[in-house]
Symmetry: C2
Subunit: 373 residues, 2 copies
C-alpha cells in the first residue's frame, strides 16, 4: 500500500492511498457492504454509478455465511462480489460483540454464538487474520477488545492492554504468513481503544504506532457517547497517531461528524447511516435531511436536492419517490441508497477539494450555514 499526503490544511489532510485494487483519495467515506453487497445495491451501482473506490465488508458476516473458504474459492471478495476496487474488512470483533447474545472476551480471544444458527465460535487475533487472508481484502483490521461506554477505568485499562497484546500477535502473524506467500497485497491496520479516557487513548495510540501497521484506526467510538465526547477524544488522541499513515475513525457517522473529524485530522470513515437511513426514508441534502414520508412530498415534482446530480435526482421526483416509499416498493430502497451514498461520497470530494485549495475552514463554515436555512 502506498500512502502520500497531498495537502495539509490546519489539521485536515488530503491524501492518496494506493492498494492493489484502486487509488483512494482521502478524506474518504467507505460504504458498508456487510455481507459482500452494499444493501440494495450491486457492484455496478458501487463502481460505475457511485464510483466508490473502497467499500467495507464485515468479516463476522462473511465468516459465518457463506464462510471464508467459499469466498476464497471464488477468488476472494473481489472475485465473489465482482466489485473491482478496494475492500476493507473489519476483524469481526465488533459484530461478535454487538450481534451475539453471548459474547465473552478472554485473554486469548472472543467467544460468541452465531446470530444465524446459534452455533459457537471463537475469534482470536490470528484466526481473524486467517479469515481476512481468505477474504483477500486490501485492508484488514486487527482483533481488538471492545468496551461498551460508559465503562470503568479498570475495564478500559484491561481493554487497551489486551488490544495492544493482540495487535502485536496479529501483526507478527501477518508478517509470518506474508513470508510464506499469503496476503502479500494485504495491509493491516491497528485499532486504538481507550474509551473516552484521554490517557488510555494516548498509551494505546503510542504503543500501536511503534508497530509496523499500514494505518491506524480509532475504534470504540460512536457507541453511545455524546458528539462532544467523540470529537474531544479524537482531538486528544490525534497528536499521538503517526502522521505518515492513514488515520481511520471507525463507524462514524453523520455528515456533521465527517466534517468535524476531518477537521481534526481523520482520513477515513465508514458508517451504515446513509444506507440504513435511506431504507427508513431519510434523505440527506446540502440543506439537511428530511423524511420522504412527509405528506407534502406526495405532490412535489422536484428532485430530492435540486443541486444534486446523482442517478436518482437526475430522474425522479420527490412525489414518485414518496409514492414508492409508501407502497414499500423495493426499488425505492435502491434509489434512496444511491442518493444518500452519492451525498456522502460527494461531500468527501468537496471536502478534499477545499483542503487542496486551503479553504477547508471556509467550507466548514458554509457547510453549517447552508444547513441553517
Amino acid at each position: 500500500m502506498k500512502f502520500k499526503i497531498d495537502k495539509i490544511d490546519g489539521n485536515a489532510r488530503a491524501c492518496t492511498i494506493q492498494t492493489a485494487h484502486s487509488v483512494i483519495q482521502t478524506p474518504v467515506f467507505m460504504p458498508v457492504g456487510t455481507v459482500g453487497a452494499v444493501k440494495g445495491l450491486d457492484a455496478v451501482d458501487m463502481s460505475e454509478i457511485l464510483e466508490a473506490k473502497i467499500i467495507l465488508a464485515n468479516t463476522y458476516h462473511m465468516y459465518l455465511r457463506p464462510g471464508a473458504d467459499v469466498v476464497k474459492k471464488f477468488g476472494g471478495l473481489h472475485g465473489f462480489t465482482k466489485f473491482p476496487n478496494s475492500f476493507l474488512t473489519d476483524s469481526g470483533g465488533f459484530q461478535a460483540f454487538s450481534l451475539s447474545d453471548i459474547s465473552k472476551p478472554d485473554e486469548y480471544g472472543i467467544k460468541f454464538r452465531s446470530h444465524i444458527d446459534g452455533s459457537k465460535h471463537y475469534f482470536t487475533p490470528k484466526s481473524v487474520i486467517d479469515t481476512q487472508h481468505k477474504l483477500g481484502s486490501d485492508i484488514m483490521m486487527i482483533l481488538d477488545d471492545l468496551v461498551a461506554l460508559p465503562a470503568t477505568k479498570k475495564r478500559v485499562d484491561e481493554s487497551i492492554k489486551r488490544t495492544i497484546k493482540w495487535a502485536k500477535e496479529a501483526l507478527e502473524y501477518h508478517k509470518f504468513k506474508q513470508n510464506e506467500g499469503t496476503g502479500i497485497n494485504q495491509n493491516l491496520f491497528g485499532i486504538i481503544q481507550g474509551g473516552t479516557d484521554f490517557d488510555m487513548r494516548k498509551i494505546c495510540a503510542q504503543s500501536l504506532c511503534e508497530m509496523e501497521f499500514d494505518g491506524l484506526a480509532i475504534g470504540g467510538l460512536s457507541v453511545g457517547e455524546s458528539n462532544e465526547e467523540m470529537y474531544e477524544t479524537v482531538e486528544n488522541v490525534m497528536p499521538f497517531i503517526d502522521k505518515n499513515r492513514p488515520r481511520y475513525l471507525m463507524g462514524v457517522g453523520t455528515p456533521e461528524d465527517l466534517v468535524e473529524n476531518v477537521y481534526r485530522g481523520v482520513d477515513m470513515f465508514d458508517c451504515v447511516m446513509p444506507t440504513r437511513n435511506a431504507r427508513n426514508g431519510t434523505l440527506f441534502t446540502t440543506f439537511g435531511k428530511f423524511n420522504i414520508k412527509r405528506a407534502e412530498f406526495i405532490h412535489d415534482d422536484e428532485p430530492i436536492d435540486k443541486a444534486c446530480d446523482c442517478y436518482t435526482c437526475k430522474r425522479y421526483s420527490k412525489g414518485y419517490l414518496s409514492h414508492l416509499f409508501r407502497a414499500k416498493e423495493l426499488t425505492f430502497y435502491r434509489l434512496a441508497s444511491l442518493h444518500n451514498l452519492h451525498y456522502y461520497l460527494n461531500l468527501m470530494k468537496e471536502i478534499r477539494e477545499a483542503i487542496l485549495n486551503s479553504k477547508f475552514d471556509e467550507f466548514r463554515r458554509e457547510f453549517y450555514l447552508k444547513r441553517e436555512i
Copy 2:
C-alpha cells in the same frame, strides 16, 4: 395506434403495434409494474437494460394510491414514473375482485373496499375510463364482469351480457371524451369473458368484435382452470376474434403458456410470474427453471444460464446469487428480476424471429426438447 401484421406462420403471428410512445413488436410480453414500478426495478432498468417497449400498470393500485389526479398532475404515468415507452393499464376490475374482501358486481359496476385502508369505492365502465384517461396509458382496458372458475352457466351468461353492455358504454364514453379532447392518443381494448364455455366465449367475442375496439383481450383465464382448459378455450375462441386487431391473453403465464398461446394466435401477454418467482428465488433458463436456494449452488461459480447475456448472467455467479438470496439482500431481488424478465422478453424475441422465418413449429419442438435435458 397503428397495427400491422408482419408475418403469419400457422396460427402464430408477428405484428407491429405503434403507440404514441413506442413501437411494439409482437408477440410481446408486458412486465407488470403494479404501482407504476416493476417490482425491484426502476425505469432505467426497464427501458435501457431490459429494453421493454411496453409495461403494465394496475389502475386499481394507482387509483387508490397516489390517486389518478396526482398521477395526472405529474404528466400521467409517463411523467410520474419516467418510463418513456408504452403503458397498458387494466381496468381495475380484476384487483377489485381479487384483493378486496367485499367485492360486489351489480348491473352498473363493482363495489369494493380498498385493501390499503378499507375505504369503500365503486368502479363503473365510465369511471375506470376517466381514471385511465388521467393515468394517460397508451392502451386502456374496459371494465369487465369477472367470474371465478368453476362457475355455473347462469353466472357465466350474466357475466358476458354485463361485459358486453359495459364494453359498449365504455367505448361510447371514450369516443365522447376523445371528441372533447381527452385521451386522444389513448386506445381501448375490449375483454372477452365466458369462462371455459366455448359458446359463451364465441358470443362475447363476436359481440365485442362488432365494436370499434383497438384490440381484443381474452380475460378470465389463468384463474384456476387446467392448462388444457386454458389452451382449448383460447383455441376455440380465436377464430371469432378479428384478425386485424391485436389479441391479448390477460395474466398468462409460464414460458410454456406463452409458446402454446402464440401457437394459437395470441399477440400480447402479461404476468407477474417472472418477477414474483424471482423474489422467491425461482429462476428461468432455456433448460427449465430451478430454485437458487438449492445447496449445490453455494459453490457454483457459473452464471444462472451460460447461454444468457442478461445483466446478471454477464456478471454474477450462482454462488454469489445464492449467498445474496440466503442473506435476504435486497439487491438479489433486482438481479433475479432482471434475469427472469430478460428470459421472458428474449423468449418472445426468439419466437418472433422464428415466426418471421416461418420456423415457429421447429422452434416450439426445440423449446420442449431443451427442457427435457
